[in-house]
């Protein structure tokens, strides 16, 4: 069902006709997820209500997409109308939008069901121009005729004139028919006198055409016909209109009309309006045109989709095509009520974008399609068709630098495989540049992919570490809270610390130590660096100031360092050697008995470790160990005396 639908709308600039991703992706994603969810649970109940609600939302979704696929043909409305301009030159519509409207009409718009044939007429009026390929269409014939219009002296003598009029009438382009009829020579003032009857007939036909009853809610500005909402009213009006036409057909005025072309042309139009199958067939080019003319003049009372497929088959037989246009193939699929064919045509003709987005429409009305598209298929990895198509589209998006950030929106709506694909995608992104990295991490944050983001940070940390940017490396590993790796790099870091730390070079280390920051941040054994720096500072102060307080403070930080398990063994001796002045502080012993014992034990441990393999000897003078031992022993003696 339609709950928790993620509405995804991506607009492309310069959408290529093949429907694939254009390089120049433009903007706008709309994610309206869960909006449906929350209000659905709020309404909580009546099935019909839910149904309406669902339908409204599908329509809203469809409207959003249509808007993004391009605005409707700009209704070009010049102040001074050119009487010879029959067709409005609007923007060329895209077949993608044509296909979308078609899908909407058949699957989502429940309002249009009662006046469905008229919707189809409107659709063809907008998109007939797309269908002309190797075969002419009414639109292309009109365009051709418009080109020759200026050069024609006596318009009504040209058989083409009557031909395009009957074609336009057959597919219901009434305003064009009336406009063309009024270009008839008999309207000219100098001819009106001797062609009165002829002019009368032309005008009568034009008026009858403009009065054609149509079963629809409304007509757009400038379109002709009389609208009827209710079927009984429409039927009554239709009968009356037909009567008038029949009356005109058998009228006596035809006899004094001497202009043969006019007489035959008008009679032809009357036959079209009376629903003459043969003439309709000659007036139209494509089967869809013939199909629509059937609805207009032969089966005007058709409601809904009854018998549509059979009629279409009949029309195709009468107007066979060697290579049908993709829109026509789509129509056949739709009226054949074959969801698989529709999907296949969408994907073949309009690309993965269309398929991924059209599924929402396909499932809106039909439970059968809903089952088909949402059933999990074992042969495609246990995912549904819906998910499959979303995945396919997401993959298209991921193939380009600019569009890959949109892919997560689709991937996260894929229940089964989307998230793992997204993870894979995120791992594949380069980690060199912090800015790009942060953008990826933002995606992780949005979709609650904490484990992925911590892995990405680890990758970045190791990358920067290896490239000599130790600070950045430590930062990212800290962000990832990877104590294991931090401990690992700590050993490498201590090697350089052991060699280079002196009071001058501490300036360089200062920044990194600041970064390691407070104790709340995980730093692994790097925490030692922080304490080491503090100890060095207090030792410096003790030596400078020579006050007891400063010395005691330094001794305390020495003890905390020596007690701390994260202090590497190799620093024990250098630490103690540095603190010789503290151990033999003249005023009083700074360390008590137990503290001194602890240090002596450490010293013992150290000398035992020195015989083991892998011991890193410090580069202190050889007598360092002895002098520390001596100082500790002296201190122990003084401390014992003090404590007694």
């Amino acid at each position: 069902m339609y709950i928790g639908l993620v509405w995804l709308v991506v607009r492309f600039r310069n959408w290529h006709l093949d429907g694939y991703i254009s390089d120049e992706i433009f903007s706008l994603i709309k994610v309206k997820s869960n909006q449906a969810d929350s209000s659905a649970s709020a309404s909580g109940g009546a099935l019909s209500q839910e149904f309406c609600f669902e339908w409204d939302h599908v329509m809203e979704y469809s409207k959003d997409i249509k808007e993004l696929l391009g605005n409707p043909k700009s209704n070009y409305d010049p102040l001074i109308e050119d009487p010879k301009e029959v067709l409005n030159k609007g923007e060329e519509p895209t077949s993608l939008k044509a296909a979308w409207e078609l899908m909407e009409m058949f699957y989502a718009d429940k309002l249009c069901q009662s006046w469905f044939p008229e919707r189809l007429v409107d659709w063809l009026a907008d998109y007939d121009c797309l269908l002309s390929g190797d075969q002419p269409t009414v639109h292309s014939k009109l365009v051709d005729f418009q080109g020759t219009l200026v050069t024609l002296q006596v318009i009504e003598d040209d058989p083409k004139y009557w031909e395009v009029i009957s074609s336009a009438l057959a597919i219901g382009w009434l305003e064009i028919v009336v406009k063309l009829l009024r270009l008839h020579g008999s309207y000219q003032l100098d001819q009106l006198g001797h062609r009165e009857t002829e002019n009368g007939l032309v005008e009568t036909v034009a008026v009858l055409i403009s009065m054609m009853p149509r079963m629809r809610l409304e007509l757009k500005n400038g379109k002709l016909g009389e609208c009827f909402e209710a079927k009984p009213d429409f039927m009554k009006a239709w009968e009356k209109w037909r009567e008038q036409i029949t009356k005109l057909d058998s009228s006596a005025f035809w006899v004094p009309c001497h202009h043969r072309q006019t007489r035959e042309g008008l009679k032809n139009l009357i036959q079209i309006m009376l629903g003459n199958t043969k003439i309709l067939c000659t007036a139209t080019d494509h089967w869809i045109e013939l199909y629509i003319s059937h609805f207009l003049f032969i089966r005007p009372f058709t409601v809904g989709f009854e018998g549509m497929y059979n009629l279409a088959q009949k029309c195709i037989q009468m107007k066979p095509m060697s290579s049908p246009h993709k829109l026509l193939r789509l129509i056949i699929g739709i009226i054949g009520e074959n969801t698989e064919v529709v999907l296949a045509e969408c994907s073949r003709g309009f690309g993965p974008w269309m398929v991924a987005h059209a599924i929402e429409l396909l499932t809106a009305r039909s439970d059968l399609a809903d089952i088909l598209l949402h059933k999990e298929h074992d042969d495609i990895g246990g995912i549904s068709m819906e998910e499959l198509h979303r995945l396919v589209y997401a993959q298209v998006l991921t193939s380009h630098f600019l569009t890959w950030q949109i892919a997560p929106v689709y991937l996260t709506s894929c229940m089964k495989q989307g998230m793992s694909l997204l993870e894979f995608l995120l791992y594949r992104q380069p980690a060199q540049h912090n800015q790009l990295l942060l953008k990826n991490l933002e995606i992780c944050r949005l979709y609650d992919l904490d484990h992925v983001s911590s892995n990405i940070m680890k990758i970045a940390g190791v990358y920067h570490w290896k490239h000599g940017r130790k600070g950045l490396g430590v930062f990212w590993l800290q962000q990832a809270r990877d104590e294991f790796l931090l401990n690992k790099i700590a050993r490498q870091l201590f090697d350089s610390v052991g060699k280079s730390i002196s009071s001058e070079s501490f300036k360089q280390w200062e920044g990194l130590i600041e970064l390691l920051g407070s104790e709340s941040k995980p730093a692994g054994s790097l925490e030692f660096l922080h304490k080491y720096r503090d100890f060095k500072k207090s030792l410096q102060q003790a030596c400078d100031r020579k006050t007891l307080d400063a010395a005691q403070h330094a001794a305390d930080s020495l003890m905390s360092l020596m007690k701390n398990p994260s202090t590497p063994q190799r620093f024990w001796l250098p630490l103690l050697y540095d603190s010789l002045t503290l151990l033999s502080w003249p005023a009083r012993p700074l360390l008590n008995v137990s503290q001194t014992n602890l240090l002596l034990n450490k010293l013992q441990e150290l000398s035992m470790a020195s015989v083991r393999p892998g011991f890193v000897a410090s580069d202190l003078p050889a007598e360092a160990l002895n002098s520390v031992r001596l100082a500790l022993a002296t201190n122990l003696g003084r401390a014992i005396l003090e404590e007694q």
Binding site: I25, F26, L402, E442, F475, Q479, E514, L515, S518
Partner: protein, 360 residues
């Protein structure tokens, strides 16, 4: 959102671009009707970066680029002053150009321009491993001066003088990486980097930073990177910084351990929720909003404009509700307030477009 300062909504123009925009800056122009700006672009199809100067007429339509130049790699940072602009690259080079006005091209004879793109050449180029290894994180040109400071991921702080020589101020040997820099005075500048760290440097004193700020005010376990710093010439002791997790704060050198937080996820400030939860890519003091409320006391932080990864362009003031100017579906990667006419703001969007805002 409180819109007390802006009675009317700003005029917004969107100009789609064929390439990704890394950074964007206004350039000063002799005429208010003929504005120009510089963008650093990246063509992701051909992996080619470029630097282009465009001019903008009052109808806000974009002509072909007036000038263009192909840098050796993608631009990492871009700054402009009335006479010069500087661009640093991912490969660690720096290129300084004279502005078109300085070259006395704009304003004199515009008729030749606009139809075709001319090449421009940097007046100074510094390249090589001696200078920076890896990406230059930030660059700043001194207003009216000729010195340019660059900081990099490699932890180097360099000072480039106009002749093209450079002096190493400090080298961290990669122990610290810098991502932003801003001059405070002719002898002082502030750098920013990982862990919300800020460093104050004084060229007259020692070679190392004279003051450090460590950003562990939130006592949280996560930290972030400073992306942008701004300093107002009239209050050079206070610097404004923006970075990860929607963090925007001011650091007053006189109270170095007490940052004034304007926006942050972890802050227990009066604000109920932060303006943004993701990266704040750029911060700048907004002298336009400042001029509207002239009664801002000298102890208050001046209003600041920010742009963020989650698509927000907003003005925030100390203890005030922020004013959102744009809320886009994609990231706003950089913006610039026009110095000559501070009501105009230009910004670049993730999805290849430029937005120009003219505030009423």
């Amino acid at each position: 959102m409180a819109i007390t300062n802006l009675p009317k909504n700003p005029e917004i123009h969107r100009i789609p671009q064929p390439k990704f925009i890394d950074a964007i800056r206004w350039l000063s122009s002799p005429s208010p009707f003929q504005k120009s700006f510089i963008t650093s672009l990246y063509d992701s199809d051909y992996h080619t970066p470029s630097l282009e100067i465009h001019s903008l007429d009052p109808s806000k339509t974009l002509t072909t680029a007036l000038f263009s130049w192909t840098p050796p790699s993608r631009i990492s940072s871009l700054k402009s002053t009335p006479s010069l602009f500087a661009a640093s690259t991912f490969l660690g080079s720096l290129h300084i150009f004279k502005t078109p006005e300085e070259m006395s091209v704009l304003g004199n004879d515009m008729s030749d321009l606009g139809s075709k793109t001319s090449d421009m050449e940097p007046v100074v180029s510094v390249v090589g491993r001696e200078f920076h290894v890896g990406s230059v994180g930030g660059v700043d040109l001194m207003e009216g001066g000729s010195e340019c400071v660059t900081v990099g991921e490699d932890g180097r702080v360099n000072l480039v003088v106009e002749r093209g020589d450079f002096r190493r101020v400090f080298d961290e040997n990669g122990l610290v990486s810098y991502s932003a820099v801003k001059w405070a005075s002719p002898a002082e500048f502030v750098t920013g980097g990982c862990g919300f760290g800020l460093q104050w440097w004084d060229l007259r004193q020692s070679s190392a930073a004279v003051a450090q700020f460590k950003g562990n005010w939130d006592h949280g376990t996560t930290s972030g990177i400073i992306h942008s710093i701004d300093i107002n010439p009239s209050r050079k002791h206070t610097c404004l910084a923006g970075g990860s997790s929607g963090t925007v704060f001011a650091w007053d050198l006189r109270r170095p351990q007490e940052p004034i937080i304007l926006s942050s996820i972890g802050s227990s400030d009066t604000m109920t929720h932060p303006l943004s939860e993701s990266e704040v890519w750029e911060v700048q003091y907004d002298c336009y909003t400042n001029s509207l409320n002239s009664n801002i006391s000298s102890s208050r932080i001046l209003p600041a404009m920010i742009c963020s990864e989650d698509g927000i362009l907003a003005v925030i003031g100390q203890g005030e509700e922020p004013t959102e100017l744009l809320a886009e579906p994609c990231a706003i990667n950089s913006f610039d307030i026009d110095n000559q006419n501070p009501s105009d703001v230009i910004c670049s969007l993730e999805w290849e477009s430029i937005v120009i805002l003219s505030r009423p």
